[in-house]
Point group: C2
Chain length 181, copies 2
């Protein structure tokens, strides 16, 4: 069995698969899933005018069985949503990233994040920000960001609720920065 990962823009037909991944992600509260859906709908209504960029990760399994014709099945296994931060020059936010929990450990999240980082760099982005929660459930997520070179730059205590702080991680793009000079 051969697995191939493809990253491509989100289309309407992907929405239900993404919603299922969001609902199956234990870190996301129901209200967060509602907001994620609003953002997906905004994007799908007007992909180029929404201020969001949304890409899905599609995993294809190619099964070759003797002389039988090749069978292949494609599944949506994750997505990333990012965009330029309003009222800034060269700052971008990564708003959502989610991977099917059954497919974790295959590097799908890393592939999505690296893909977005490269696109942001191409667009002249200087600074990438990711906001997340200090809840223990996010420890793996935070380790994932740190592994990818993100550093904590802001912590607002009790932001989400009492005891649940907002953490902001950043990654600076030095080549983007030098473009401004």
């Amino acid at each position: 069995m051969l697995e191939k990962l493809k990253i491509r823009p989100l289309v309407k037909e992907d929405k239900q698969a993404i919603m299922q991944i969001l609902r199956d992600t234990p870190e996301f509260k129901p209200a967060e899933v509602v907001v994620a859906e609003e953002v997906l709908d905004n994007y799908l209504q007007d992909p180029s005018g929404s201020g969001y960029y949304t890409f899905v990760a599609e995993l294809t399994n190619v099964i070759a069985r003797g002389k039988a014709p090749k069978q292949s099945r494609s599944d949506i296994v994750g997505y990333i949503c990012y965009g330029p931060t309003p009222l800034t020059e060269g700052t971008w936010d990564i708003y959502w990233i989610a991977v099917d929990s059954k497919e974790k450990g295959k590097g799908i999240g890393s592939a999505l994040l690296t893909f977005a980082e490269n696109r942001i760099k191409e667009a002249g982005g200087r600074l990438i920000l990711i906001e997340t929660s200090s809840r223990p459930e996010y420890k793996g997520t935070i380790n994932f960001y740190r592994f990818h070179g993100y550093e904590l730059v802001s912590k607002i205590l009790d932001f989400y609720t009492s005891g649940d702080d907002k953490l902001t991680f950043q990654k600076r793009n030095e080549s983007g920065k030098s473009k401004e000079v």
Copy 2:
């Protein structure tokens, strides 16, 4: 001459006066005025569903001249826009506050801010956040927030552009906090 200050919800007829104040405020960049207008329009389209609370300060001059009938003139001299921060419990953002530059020094900004703080407290708000820029033009604004008890809790370097940081000020409402226990 007698001056009376009244704070009341924004209505459609106030919009042009507020836009003029925004345009005449040197700290606001044109792109910021565009976003402020979008927020005003969102609020006016659906005041209770927009997620924003928008109030104007109206100054009335009553001029009594001998036996002539009293003359009075009302002017919109400022506004404040605030709302609950999405995906939080009890955190509120003050998004915009502006005062007619000809009327500065009369306590209009303080009256608007105190008004919003009291409404947020009544709604059970725990935490008030205000984001602002580190540009030198905002020094007076920052002093104004500090005078009203706000403290700096976050600084994201180069957020708006290279050399222009995002500062976040907070004020905690202890009585709101104790409600949660």
